[in-house]
Amino acid sequence: MKAESDKTLVNSGPYTLGEIREGTPCCEPVPHLQVRNLSVAYGQQSVLDNVSLDIFQGCITALIGPSGCGKTSFLSSLNKLIELAPAARLSGQVLFDGQELLGAPVDVLTLRRRIGMIFQKPNPFPLSIQRNLELPLKEHGVRDKQLRAHKIETALRDVGLWDEVADRLQASALSLSGGQQQRLCIARALVLEPEILLMDEPCSALDPIAAAVVEELIQRLRGRYTVVIVTHNLAQARRVANYAAFFWMKERVGKLIEFGQCQQLFETPGHALTAAYVSGASG
């Protein structure tokens, strides 16, 4: 029971500092998030209708589909960041490790520590590099300065940024290049030792070289973290993802058309719309 209690989302408090879990090796499909009949509307405007799929632990799941079909809305339903839009209305179920997120009262601060999010445009705070990482740690109750320093170094090493910034941790994070900024944002999420990372087009604001670096980093996250990534780059989806979900708009409402193993979805799509989209004929 005790092991259970630090997993519950209702009770926050400083999080426990275990080793980074070596997750289930990827592709042994253990559901980490189960989405059931999720619908999203902004006011009267329905944007996502009746989506059900499983996000598997330790795997990378790519969400693909044209702009406006509700991928960002779907992603931000998973950490409830969609609540920032006052008009947003959700229905259906999202189960995180079996625990219901939408209907029940949930401590969103703990939820968002356990499910990190990366945005399209790198958004480091206008603070020093160190403080960007220190602030979330302090917020989640890591009081010990040395422990913080250790975690910060680990996170920066994980994203391959340590050698580039070790001698200027006090410099403004805004002085970094776009690719470095995005990796800093990933480090900022990793420093909290999340279980799931939501990435909303993390490479599309970067130049090709920086995008390749970030993509390689995402590859390395496999197994340790469960990753859900929205991407418009189909080649990238094929390279990184184990599972893929294809969204499409029907009568201006987003729907999940097909979900399955990535290779299967790209090579033997089960739906004509998917086939057209992945072959580049539509969208």
């Binding site: 950490n79 960041l81 945005f119 480091p124 206008p126 603070l127 020093s128 917020e139 006090q170």
Partner: protein
Amino acid sequence: MAKRGLEDASTAAGTIAERLFTLLVWGAAALVVAMLLWVLGDVLVMGLSHLSWEFIVAAPEDAGRRGGIGPILVSTLLILLVALAAAVPLGLAVAVWLAEFTRRGGRFANSIRLTLDVLAGVPSIVYGLFGNAFFSLYLGLGFSLLAGGLTLACMILPVFIRTCEAGLSMVNNDWRRGALALGMSRTSAIWHILLPAAAPAIVAGLILGIGRATAETAALIFTSGYVDRMPGSLLDSGRALAVHIYDLSMNVSGGDGAAYASALILIGLIVVLNTLAQWLAERWLSRRILNS
């Protein structure tokens, strides 16, 4: 007009309109600068001869014709201190509420914004009458530095709030989302990220407020009063510098020299205070940005 090359920009009609316009904007700018220099020059020339260390520290004698402005400077600074101590925390809180906790286009918040904008345009004499009725009489503070300072706080609050609110709403929304996505509470997002990011606007609001408060007479005559003795506490009456200048130039024959010297000090005071405000804000900001 067969060939439209770059040199065609110098066709006669275009050039004349262009030159006239250039002349006009330069002329307008020069006029404003000249007026400012005139005022400053006038105060400098007339005031410098009367200015001395003795003038700054001594008590006024003979209705201010002789002696100095020591107690008046002290009263001015105390009134300002009271005003800022009341207005800055309250103003920041209201600005945060308006910018972060109200729906866009919400009725209640919009009516508050409108009220603030109207209040910002109310003449200071009205604040003086209100301060006299509310702080001096109703709350029983009498003619005191406290009553004067609180009246000034009311007077500078509307502009301060609206400036800070504008600064906060200009802050990049990505930072707001980023902070919340990291599981930070709204309070820490505001305190650690949004307020520091809005600091330039807050300083601008502060400088506007300091300038207006330091130069105020009408709101103070009925609240902090005329008494030119050294105040013993915040509940004593005290004469602000601007009130002193007004009195010297209007009511005291032969007080012009002292009035000019006082005006010079007033200008210097505003410059010093603004620099100080900027410096303090920058220090606070860089402490937040770097380590704590």
